[in-house]
C-alpha cells in the first residue's frame, strides 16, 4: 500500500476495504490474546481454517484472530457474527462440527456454550452473558473489531478518522480544549486531569517535545493495558499522534513492559504499518505535521512505571524516580517538555475527538468521566477484564458482573487499586468506581485492579502480603520508603506471628503518615495504604492478633491450631496418611488426634478430610 498523501484518501481506502469484504456472510472472531494463546488458541485457529478450506467455506467466512476479550478464564473464545453466538473453551477437535453444523446449518452446539454459574443455564449469545451484559465496553469492544496485526481492519472500523478530523481543521489548542472538556482523567493510577496535563505541556517553552505511552503495567494481576495495546495497538497510536499534534511533539515512545512480548510485537508492527501508510513520519497525510514513534522495552521493575523512573530508563539510565519539584511536562525526557500518559488514557482520545467531549462526559460522575477497565480477580465466579462507566457501584461489579462469591464463603472485602490501593469492606460496596470517592474511603481506583476476598482471608495477612511486595519493589533510594516500609512489614509480621504489642499500632499509624508525607515518589507515598485501610476497616482483626494471639480467619500459621473433632471423625485415617510430618495418631476406626508439637500447620489434613472433622482455631 502506498502512503496516503492527503486527508480524503483515508475515506477512499476505507470504502475499498469494506467493499472487498462484501462477499463474506459470516465473521468468526477467535481470541488470540496472551491468555487464550496459553489455552491453545493458535491450534484452534489453524484447525478452524483447515476446516473452512476442506468444507469449501473459506470465501464465505472471514476469520479474524483478535486480541483479548477479557474473559480469559473461558478461553479460547470464539464468536460467530452476525448472530453473536459465543463458544468458550474451544478445542481444535471442535472445529469440524462448528463449521459443518453451526456455520452451515445454523445449529448451536450446546456443549460449547457458556454456562452461567449462578443459574446453571447455558447462554448462546454473547450479549446475554451476565459478565458482558452489565458492562459498557466502549474501549474493549474495539478489540473485537480488529485483528491487531491488520491496519486494514482498523481502518475498516473507522480508525484514524479522528486523526484526519484533527488534521483537517482543528487548531492544536482546540484539541487540548476538547480533551479538557471531556473531563478525562489519567488511567495510569493517579487520575490526573488529562486536559490540564496537555495544556501545561503545550504551554511549556521549547521546540523539542516528546510524548510517551506508559505501558509498563507492573501491578500484579492487572492486564488492561496489555489487553488494549496488544489487541488494538493502532487505537493507542492514533491517540498518541493526536496528542503529539496538540502539544507540538516531534517524537514519541511506547514504553512496554518486557514481560509483554506480544504487546511489544504488535506495537512495533503497528508503528511500521502506520509509517507505510503515512500516519507517522514526515508530513502526515500530506499535512505539515511530522511525528514518529519508537517502541522501547521496559526495565522490568514495578517502579519503572513511575513517570520519572520510566523516563530515566528510556534515556538509558537506571530506572529510579527523581524528585518532581519540576514537572515532567516542563522537564521530562532529556529535560525536554514531555507528555506522558497511560495506554488506556491514550486509547480514549480517538473516541473523544470523533464523538465529541460531551459524548464522553455523559458517562460517569461529577469528577470521573467515561468508562474504566477493571481487572476483576479473586474469589468471584467470573474473573476477567470488566469495563464499566465510572460511577458504577462496587457491588454491581462484584455481584452482578463478577457473579458473587465462588466457593460458598461470604465475600468480605475488595482490594482496589493495585498493591498500593486499599481494602474496602462489604459495608462500603455501595461506593462508586470514582477517583475521589475511593480515595476518600482510603483506597483508590488506581490502575483498576480489583481483588475480591472472602471470609477465608485474613486482613492482617493481606496487609503483610502487599507490604512485602512493595518493600521488594521499592527502588531503595529514599529512607522513608526503603527503611520505613520495611519497618511496617516488620511490625505487621510481628502481629501475624503473635509477637505484637498494642503500642505498635500507634507506631504503625505514626510511621505510615511519615512515609506518605515524606517519600520521594508515588510508590512510597502510597505504600502504607494497604495497612491503613485494613486498620481502618478491620481493626478488630488486628486487635485479635495482638491481644488474643488469635487469627479469626484461621490463616496466620503461628496463631492457629489444627485439631480433630472427635464427634465428627469416622476414623478413616485419610488425614493420617496425608500428614507428611507424622503428627496424626490414632488406631484404626477410632477418632484421630493431632500432636501439636509435631504439627507444621501445612493444612493438608484439613483439605483431605471428607467429613469436615478437622477444625482450625
Amino acid at each position: 500500500m502506498p502512503r496516503l498523501q492527503e486527508l480524503n484518501a483515508l475515506e477512499t481506502e476505507r470504502r475499498r476495504i469494506v467493499d472487498s469484504r462484501q462477499a463474506y456472510t459470516t465473521t468468526v472472531l477467535i481470541c488470540s490474546g496472551t491468555g487464550c494463546q496459553a489455552s491453545r488458541s493458535p491450534a484452534v485457529i489453524e484447525a478452524f481454517k483447515n476446516q473452512l478450506q476442506s468444507q469449501r467455506l473459506n470465501e464465505k467466512v472471514l476469520v479474524r484472530t483478535t486480541g483479548c476479550h477479557g474473559f480469559c478464564e473461558q478461553g479460547p473464545i470464539m464468536v460467530l457474527e452476525p448472530e453473536g453466538v459465543l463458544y468458550c473453551r474451544v478445542a481444535p477437535e471442535d472445529c469440524r462440527e462448528i463449521v459443518s453444523r453451526t456455520i452451515k446449518k445454523g445449529e448451536v452446539l450446546e456443549r460449547l456454550l457458556y454456562t452461567d454459574p449462578a443459574s446453571g443455564q447455558r447462554i448462546p449469545k454473547e450479549k446475554d452473558i451476565p459478565f458482558y451484559r452489565d458492562q459498557d465496553r466502549s474501549l474493549l469492544s474495539g478489540n473485537r473489531a480488529v485483528d491487531p496485526r491488520s491496519l486494514e481492519d482498523y481502518i475498516a472500523a473507522g480508525g484514524y478518522t479522528a486523526l484526519t478530523r484533527v488534521l483537517a481543521g482543528m487548531a492544536p489548542q482546540a484539541v487540548v480544549e476538547e480533551v479538557t472538556a471531556s473531563g478525562l482523567r489519567g488511567r495510569g493510577g493517579g487520575g490526573f486531569p488529562t486536559g490540564r496535563k496537555w495544556q501545561e505541556c503545550r504551554e511549556a517553552p521549547g521546540e523539542e517535545k516528546y510524548v510517551v505511552c506508559n505501558a509498563d503495567e507492573g501491578d500484579p494481576g492487572a492486564y488492561m493495558d496489555r489487553c488494549v495495546l496488544e489487541g488494538n495497538p493502532h487505537r493507542v497510536l492514533e491517540g498518541m499522534i493526536i496528542g503529539a499534534f496538540a502539544v507540538g511533539a516531534v517524537r514519541g515512545y511506547i514504553y512496554v513492559r518486557k514481560e509483554y512480548p506480544l504487546a511489544v510485537q504488535h506495537a512495533k508492527l503497528a508503528v511500521q504499518q502506520a509509517r507505510e501508510y503515512g500516519f507517522l513520519g514526515e508530513n502526515i497525510l500530506g499535512s505539515s505535521f511530522s511525528f514518529d514513534v519508537e517502541v522501547a522495552r521496559g526495565g522490568g521493575a514495578f517502579v519503572c512505571g513511575e513517570s520519572t523512573a520510566l523516563m530515566a530508563s528510556l534515556e538509558g539510565r537506571v530506572g529510579e524516580p527523581r524528585p518532581k519539584d519540576i514537572h515532567t511536562v516542563q522537564e521530562g525526557l532529556w529535560n525536554k517538555p514531555t507528555l506522558l500518559n497511560n495506554v488506556e488514557t491514550w486509547a480514549n482520545i480517538p473516541g473523544i475527538i470523533t464523538n465529541g467531549a460531551a459524548w464522553f462526559s455523559a458517562k460517569g460522575t461529577a469528577g470521573s468521566k467515561g468508562t474504566k477497565i477493571l481487572a476483576l480477580t479473586g474469589q468471584v465466579k467470573n474473573t476477567g477484564l470488566v469495563e464499566v462507566p465510572m460511577g458504577t457501584p462496587l457491588r454491581k461489579v462484584i455481584f452482578d458482573i463478577g457473579g458473587g462469591a465462588n466457593n460458598g464463603k461470604p465475600i468480605k472485602a475488595v482490594q482496589t487499586g493495585g498493591p498500593s490501593g486499599g481494602c474496602l469492606p462489604v459495608g462500603q460496596f455501595d461506593l462508586p468506581v470514582d477517583f475521589d470517592a475511593l480515595a476518600e474511603a482510603g483506597s483508590m481506583v488506581g490502575s483498576g485492579g480489583m481483588v475480591v476476598m472472602d471470609a477465608g482471608t485474613c486482613m492482617v495477612d493481606v496487609a503483610k502480603y502487599f507490604l512485602n511486595f512493595l518493600q521488594d519493589e521499592s527502588c531503595g533510594k529514599c529512607v522513608p520508603c526503603r527503611i520505613g516500609v520495611d519497618r511496617l512489614l516488620e511490625i505487621v509480621t510481628d502481629f501475624t506471628e503473635g509477637k505484637g504489642r498494642l503500642e505498635q499500632l500507634d507506631l504503625l499509624e505514626d510511621l505510615a503518615e511519615t512515609i506518605t508525607e515524606t517519600s520521594l515518589c508515588g510508590l512510597g507515598k502510597t505504600a502504607p495504604n494497604p495497612v491503613l485501610s485494613t486498620l481502618r476497616y478491620f481493626r478488630e482483626e488486628y486487635l485479635a492478633h495482638i491481644l488474643e494471639k488469635r487469627c479469626p480467619a484461621g490463616v496466620c500459621k503461628a496463631l492457629i491450631q489444627y485439631a480433630v473433632d472427635q464427634e465428627k471423625c469416622t476414623g478413616c485415617g485419610d488425614c493420617q496418611r496425608a500428614c507428611p510430618h507424622g503428627a496424626i495418631k490414632g488406631r484404626k476406626e477410632e477418632p484421630r488426634l493431632i500432636d501439636s508439637a509435631k504439627c507444621q500447620k501445612c493444612g493438608l489434613c484439613f483439605s483431605e478430610c471428607t467429613f469436615n472433622a478437622i477444625t482450625v482455631a
Binding site: D325, I326, C475, G476, C478, V479, R487
Partner: protein, 229 residues
C-alpha cells in the same frame, strides 16, 4: 549577571540566586535545616529526606525536600513547623535505628529531637546516602562506585566489578557518615542504643532562634556550613 529572587524561610526574608536550592539559601542565612545526603558541589538526589520543609501557598501546604527544591520568587517555606519537626524526627529515628554506630547519625538524631527509638536496632554499615557514589562519579570523575540492587538489597559497589577505575582519592571514606564511631566506641550487637550524650550542648543552642547549631556535635562530620568556611 546573577539574578536574585526573594523568598521567606521560617518568616525571614531571604535573597537567593536563581537556580539555587532552598537548602543552600537557608544555610547561607544561618537557618539550619538538618541534612545528610546533601553535600556542597554534588548533585542533590533527595535520598535521606531529613531536609524536608513545608512549602506553603494557595492555601495548601506540601512537604518536599529543600535540597532538591529550587528557590522561586515569593516562595513561602516553613522549615521548622510542628509537622516538619515531627516527620523529620521520625525519619531520623528510622536512620538511627538502622545505623546506631554512626556518630554523625547519632548526632543528627539528637538534633532532630529523637528521644526514644521504637524499633529494634539493626546494625547496618551503610545508610545509602550516596555521598561516596556521587563524589566518585562527580568531582572525582572516576565512575568507580555505584548503586546495585533494589529495595532492601540496594548497596554500594564497584560498578561492574571494575575496581581498577578507582583513583584512590579516598574522598568516599572521608565523607562517609558511617566512618566515625560514637564517642564511647562501637556498640556491641544487642547493645545498640541512642547515645544522646550531646543533648546538653544542644539545649544551649536551642535558645538562639533561627540560628544554625554552631555546635561541636558534628565534629568530623561537618555540616556543610563549616565546609563553606
Amino acid at each position: 549577571m546573577v539574578q536574585y529572587v526573594t523568598l521567606r524561610i521560617d518568616g525571614s526574608i531571604v535573597k537567593a540566586a536563581k537556580g539555587s536550592s532552598v537548602l543552600d539559601a537557608a544555610i547561607q542565612y544561618g537557618i539550619c535545616i538538618p541534612h545528610l545526603c546533601h553535600m556542597p558541589l554534588l548533585e542533590d538526589i533527595g535520598a535521606c529526606r531529613l531536609c524536608i520543609v513545608e512549602q506553603v501557598g494557595n492555601g495548601k501546604s506540601k512537604i518536599t525536600t529543600s535540597c532538591t527544591l529550587r528557590v522561586q520568587e515569593g516562595m513561602v517555606i516553613q522549615a521548622h513547623s510542628e509537622k516538619v519537626r515531627r516527620l523529620r524526627r521520625n525519619i531520623a529515628e528510622l536512620l538511627v535505628a538502622q545505623a546506631p554506630n554512626s556518630r554523625a547519625i547519632q548526632d543528627m538524631a539528637v538534633r532532630c529531637g529523637v528521644k526514644e527509638v521504637r524499633y529494634p536496632f539493626r546494625n547496618a554499615d551503610c545508610v545509602l546516602c550516596g555521598r561516596c557514589v556521587r563524589y566518585c562519579r562527580g568531582l572525582a570523575g572516576a565512575q568507580s562506585l555505584g548503586f546495585v540492587g533494589r529495595g532492601k538489597d540496594r548497596h554500594v559497589a564497584h560498578a561492574l566489578e571494575l575496581r581498577d577505575l578507582c583513583k584512590h582519592c579516598g574522598f568516599c571514606t572521608a565523607n562517609c557518615p558511617m566512618s566515625i564511631t560514637p564517642c564511647a566506641g562501637p556498640m556491641a550487637k544487642g547493645e545498640e542504643h541512642l547515645c544522646g550524650g550531646c543533648e546538653a550542648q544542644l539545649q544551649i543552642t536551642q535558645g538562639m532562634e533561627d540560628q544554625c547549631v554552631w555546635c561541636e556535635l558534628g565534629k568530623g562530620f561537618d555540616c556543610s556550613r563549616h565546609l563553606g568556611q
